[in-house]
Subunit: 338 residues, 2 copies
DNA sequence: TAAGACGTTGGAAACGTTACCGTCCAGGAG
DNA sequence: CTCCTGGACGGTAACGTTTCCAACGTCTTA
């Protein structure tokens, strides 16, 4: 920058003004400065910029679990787009599984002076963020110990819709497969229960299956076990996209061993759901909007444009009927050909 | 940091030394400093740290296309893990589609003083990176105008394996569906051609189908068209995971209209490939290793530990047989039940 | 004509850290 | 006892910006 100033025959302040939009600089001077910038290939150093008193970097942090899960990937992509439009980059914190690793990752990010944090929180207390002086938006689920913005999906509504749909088809014994995550899954279960109560149907608690792990394998194992019981369910609601995969895999392998193939509804849409042997009915929501909203909100907070009390944005869920949820409880058919 | 120094009754230099490992500091002094750090909740400011002469930030940049594509998501996840283990964060540049947007994103990242760049390059010249003074590793495909490290997959070998497999099954009319990407797709096609030449079989050039876009819809349309010809292929090799999806969708919809359902082999594995009505045979490689290798290489370059001339790492491809590639060319069967 | 107002510019301080240099002290060697 | 060595520590410059203040010139107004 000093070189540019010398070359243009002006002071540093003037160069800075030009770089930042050029207000209060005579046109002719600005031209000269811009010429010097081009000739020298000067580029502003964002690091030095962020060092200024009180200033933050023009980066947003995103802390989430497995990017390989399309759910998280969608959030990342969408928030990246929104941030990029405002000239912000997105820093991904490396997230190990343990909650302690998450805390460490977050602090790493804070030490980088990010302008804001978007966090898909693990369980564990996030109170340490309270006084960090950096705006935080939680995504998909709230965190404990801190009152901050949160963007999420209507989990309870989604659980209710799924159950209502199956109940309407006449199912009375519906299993629900639960991943070991606290908040969202709990809400989905609550919606599931409410729908049953509203329909006046008692839930067989042995069909409320809590998995030790949230992956497809655990769901596959649980599904096989429950379907091979003497009194298997006639329908299954799986609370997560990966879980749905496991459920379907188990049903596929069980195949003709089953007298009645159960109806299936999954929470969260997934790619190829419509191309499986029986297309899968799901409760879906606009995941990308989750990421976009979070980024937008965070940018407004970071710029100081938004000083409202912590917001709570809830996106709706909708049922996408594809076939697997439409099987009646007394269907005598084996696996259908399509 | 000044506060810490005062509180511990030492100078700034000492605090700095303690923060950085504590060499050359008496144990007792270090204890006092550490106590002060804890009491004040001091955290090192990475921004100021990166400002030091010649220093770069402890961030790696990752520039890639659509995170929603599991292929890219795997790369991102893997590189994130490796970087995180060395205390590096990963900054994702927002990538619009146009090559100009990519250049802008890269320069944004460079201005943030990242320690290195991992780029999955679009077409377009990357010569402007030559003198940027920051190490670059290209991922999945090389870039023009610059001689840098590159980590990629054996595209030609993969194309060859796929074609060989289909040829061994007796197929003589194999269509290949090509996405409009330059390098990788070209190599896959080359392997495809070599296998044909080695088998002494002439390729019907009207079965070499170049798509205008790389999405599933384009592949679906092209597949429908080619299958409804008077002389349809007996097998299809799709050069990309999204394309494979489109191919399968078209075949599913065509269904019984087809006299012979073609064999299908896809490039790149994808989730649920084994659960489709006919499980899909694919040519797969270790995508995560792609990301890991890139990150490792870049970290070594950034630290100065690796000063070798630009490396070229090529990961092998392997065939995963699942069924769709095993259909003989004269199969009279309609869609199989499983 | 003098005084103020305003637009344009230059200069310097400040941000938080690290690296270098110099000082100080203790202990060992001559 | 003196000198030297080496370890421990303090102080300061430097990194590249932005922002504030002062200075200067021009124009308007009384």
């Amino acid at each position: 920058m000093i070189d540019v100033a010398r070359r243009a025959g002006v002071g540093l302040g003037t160069v800075s003004r030009v770089v930042n939009g050029g207000h209060g600089v005579r046109d002719e001077t600005a031209q000269r400065v811009r010429a010097a910038i081009d000739e020298l290939g000067f580029q502003r150093n964002e690091v030095a910029r962020a060092l200024r008193p009180g200033k933050k970097s023009t980066s947003l942090a995103l802390v989430l679990g497995d990017l390989t899960n399309p759910f998280y990937a969608s959030i990342a992509k969408a928030s990246l787009e929104v941030a990029g439009q405002s000239g912000f980059a997105v820093v991904l914190g490396s997230v190990d599984e343990d909650p302690e690793g998450e805390k460490r990752a977050i602090q790493e990010l804070v030490s980088r002076q990010v302008a804001g944090l978007m966090i898909v929180p693990d369980q564990g207390d996030h109170a340490f963020l309270q006084g960090a002086g950096v705006p935080v938006v939680f995504v998909d689920r709230p965190a404990t110990g801190i009152d901050a913005d949160i963007v999420m999906v209507d989990n309870e509504g989604g659980g209710r819709i799924a159950a209502e749909h199956l109940l309407e088809q006449g199912h009375q014994r519906i299993a629900i497969i639960l991943a070991p995550s606290y908040y969202t899954i709990g809400r989905r279960l609550r919606g599931f229960r409410r729908a049953h109560r509203a329909a006046g149907i008692e839930i067989d608690e042995s069909l409320v299956i809590q998995l030790p792990e949230g992956n497809a394998e655990a769901a596959e194992k649980a599904t096989r076990e429950v379907m091979l019981r003497a009194d298997p369910p006639t329908a299954i609601f799986s609370s997560t996209n990966f879980l749905t995969e496991g459920v379907l895999r188990a049903l596929g392998e069980l195949g003709s061993e089953l007298e009645h193939e159960p109806a299936v509804v999954g929470f969260d849409d997934f790619r190829l759901a419509d191309m499986l042997p029986t297309p899968v009915t799901v409760v879906a929501s606009d995941i990308a909007e989750l990421g976009r909203s979070a980024a937008r909100l965070l940018l407004d907070r970071a710029s100081g444009a938004d000083t409202r009390p912590p917001q709570r944005i809830v996106l709706p869920c909708a049922l996408i009927e594809r076939g697997s949820g439409e099987r009646p409880p007394d269907s005598a058919g084996k696996r259908s050909t399509r």
